[in-house]
């Protein structure tokens, strides 16, 4: 009789419930009795799936400061990202946690600026977030596999396994990761907490998840939904007919620090366009 691990665990589990007297043979028979089986978890039929999730950012679609704020706060509100403020109302950099934010062109693409470039271009804001790299340094260095790759390309983390060593923060070339220096619930307003997404504990690292939890119930990422139409495009890069794939194939896009070989999956469209 060949058994895979899953079958073995089922049998072992049921055997232990029935006591060790039950032979493996009779346990095997019991498995055919559906009533004794644990409920099977089926894939949500509405779930959005992909071989390789990726994002195309079209900065030309962000017209006003409000567009950024809506996009960022959609993510941060949904994921209960704490917002620590100083008494004067400014962001408290010391405890700051962020999943998606804006950074100037010369900060986002260091080394790409030149001295004749206008201040306007240098300061041009870009939306930055975790790049969900093909070959992420954060995953490579994690000593507990608390951060790992999903088959659809998303770089995920298990906030219950993380020991808070912050090696991933040292390794990530994009500064995408945040650490909870204090209890993050102190930076949340109780009445605004989203009950659909867990809050975190102090001492663990967190970052953008490409909204894997929303994808599994058929929703696009919160930032994509809140951003101006066509500003953040999200799709399957491996699907030749997807919008993101068409843009990446046909238009000029750039990625942050591609020379490091991590393979970022966030592409920045140059020049914008009428794709959406």
């Amino acid at each position: 009789m060949s058994m895979d691990r899953r079958d073995f665990l089922k049998i072992a589990g049921i055997s232990s419930i029935l006591g060790f007297g039950a032979s493996v043979a009779s346990a095997t028979n019991l498995i055919t009795d559906k009533k004794l089986l644990p409920p099977q978890v089926d894939r949500n039929k509405e779930a959005l799936t992909a071989k390789r999730w990726a994002m195309v950012v079209d900065m030309s679609k962000f017209k006003a400061e409000e567009d950024f704020q809506k996009t960022i706060s959609a993510c941060h509100t949904f994921h209960n990202v704490p917002d620590f403020r100083k008494p004067d109302g400014s962001v408290d950099k010391k405890f700051e946690v962020k999943w998606i934010w804006k950074a100037a062109y010369e900060r986002t693409f260091p080394g790409q600026e030149n001295k004749y470039m206008s201040e306007h271009v240098k300061d041009m804001p870009f939306v930055v977030l975790c790049n969900h790299c093909d070959n992420p340094a954060c995953v490579r260095v994690c000593p507990t596999k608390a951060t790992y790759k999903l088959p659809d390309g998303i770089t995920m983390q298990d906030m219950h396994r993380c020991i808070g060593c912050r090696f991933c923060m040292a390794a990530c070339p994009f500064g995408a990761r945040s650490f909870n220096w204090v209890d993050p619930r102190k930076g949340l307003k109780a009445e605004l907490i989203n009950k659909e997404y867990p809050t975190r504990t102090k001492g663990v690292v967190e970052k953008c998840t490409f909204c894997t939890e929303r994808l599994s119930v058929g929703k696009v990422p919160a930032c994509v939904e809140a951003a101006p139409a066509g500003a953040l495009l999200f799709g399957d890069l491996e699907d030749p007919n997807s919008e993101v794939r068409k843009i990446v194939t046909e238009k000029l896009t750039i990625r942050r620090k591609p020379e490091l070989g991590t393979g970022p999956a966030v592409y920045y469209l140059i020049g914008g366009g009428d794709h959406a």
Binding site: K93, K94, F95, E96, V97, K98, A103, E106, R107, T108, P110, G111, A137, R140, V141, C142, P143, T144, K145, A146, R161, C162, I163, G164, C165, R166, F167, M169, A170, A171, C172, P173, F174, G175, S178, F179, N180, W181, V182, D183, T201, K202, G203, V204, V205, K257, L260, G261, T262
Partner: protein, 395 residues
């Protein structure tokens, strides 16, 4: 043999009490940090490692340096090191203890530290670092204890210990190499992305560790009848001189590559550390600069002093050179190395870091615990050696 740590003069207990005070103060702040989080430190999103990890890195070097006594004594049959080799091994035990404590106090979720063993990840350098460090602690405890136990009984150490002693040599190299890989293996941090990192770690370790050992041997000679010997101290000082030369040379190579290649990203950490840079808050930040120059000047001075035989042979000046060298390397590796990796950050922004008081007290507390372990171990070794004075057992 443990009981020998429990009997001592008033001065001995005053010293233990002194260390105990720092250990307790550190523990007090650690309990606060445990409850409130690492927000109690000066660390932030951009500089996510600091004093703790710096101390850890520096002390791995101190631990590894025991090998500089083990090699001459056991591989080259340099008999004169017979007395001091146990001091080196016990220093290694104390240093590894501090390393483990510094890692522990740096953890965001220290109660989950066993996850490293529960979910072993061979692809992670940190996993290997925990493996080699605990192995090194075990080897040194075993070798130190067995050889000292034999000394006490006046018999040569058992034959089976020899393979462990030989194993300790590559193992010592491995702990510091793997620790260097923590840094030199991550993409995007220019200051760390250098192939000579491990080599430089070893060079600075083999200078700093034996320099500390010279100072310790001098203190031990003052407070007890245990004398490692003037010529032994001279021999160790020559090891320090060569290793320090290699270290300064390797640091020079880093400067050459950064500035001759002209690659801005490679230059920025050096400019920040040695000159200062404009911060993203609009303030010019040069807080680290005096420290780095102190390190450089102390390195140059101590190297010259160790290099000139006349100066080296004067024990007063030798101890001064060792103090300067130790401070120089402590700044360079226990502080500058970490800061230079994080500032400027991944966005080429300068957000400086400075340790807070709780962080400094916790750091002092760990050092106090380490020195307490060292005091107990040295007390045991010295008492055993005093009782068997005059009898030299061939290991």
């Amino acid at each position: 043999m443990l009981e020998k740590a429990l009997e001592g003069s008033k001065k001995y207990w005053a010293w233990v009490l002194f260390l105990g005070f720092f250990a307790l103060s550190g523990t007090y702040y650690y309990i606060r940090q445990f409850n409130e989080g690492l927000g109690l430190t000066g660390l932030h999103r951009d500089v996510s490692w600091g004093l703790y990890i710096g101390q850890f890195t520096f002390l791995v070097g101190v631990a590894a340096s025991a090998v500089m006594l083990v090699i001459p004594y056991y591989l080259h049959d340099f008999k004169k090191f017979g007395k001091i080799v146990i001091l080196g091994e016990f220093l290694a035990i104390s240093a590894v203890t501090m390393c483990i404590l510094f890692i522990f106090v740096d953890m965001g979720q220290p109660m989950r530290i066993m996850n490293v063993i529960l979910h072993p990840t061979p692809g992670s350098v940190m996993f290997w670092d925990s493996v080699v460090l605990s192995g090194y602690l075990f080897i040194n405890l075993l070798v130190g204890w067995v050889t000292l136990g034999s000394d006490k009984k006046g018999v040569p150490p058992p034959k089976w210990i020899k393979p462990w002693i030989y194993l300790s040599i590559p193992w010592a190299i491995s702990i510091h190499t793997v620790t260097a890989f923590l840094y030199s293996g991550v993409p995007g941090r220019h200051f760390w992305l250098t192939a000579v990192m491990a080599a430089r770690f070893l060079a600075s370790a083999f200078a700093g560790g034996p320099a500390l050992l010279i100072l310790l041997a001098m203190i031990v000679r003052k407070v007890s009848k245990f004398d490692a010997g003037k010529d032994v101290i001279q021999a160790v000082s020559r090891i320090v001189a060569y290793a320090m030369f290699a270290n300064v040379f390797l640091l020079g190579l880093e400067f050459f590559t950064a500035f001759y290649s002209g690659i801005p990203g490679h230059q920025h950490p050096f400019i920040y550390l040695y000159k200062g840079m404009m911060g993203s808050d609009g303030v010019f930040h040069n807080e680290i600069v005096p420290l780095m120059w102190t390190s450089s000047i102390f390195a140059a001075l101590s190297l010259i002093m160790l290099w000139v035989p006349k100066i080296r042979q004067n024990e007063g000046l030798l101890s001064l050179a060792c103090v300067m060298l130790f401070i120089s390397l402590w700044i360079d590796k226990g502080f500058g190395l970490i800061i230079g990796g994080f500032v400027p950050n991944m966005f080429e922004e300068v957000n400086p870091y400075w340790p807070t008081r709780p962080e400094a007290v916790i750091t002092a507390g760990v050092w106090a615990i380490g020195f307490m372990v060292l005091t107990f171990l040295y007390k045991i070794a010295i008492t055993v050696r005093e009782q068997t004075a005059g009898v030299e057992i061939d290991h």
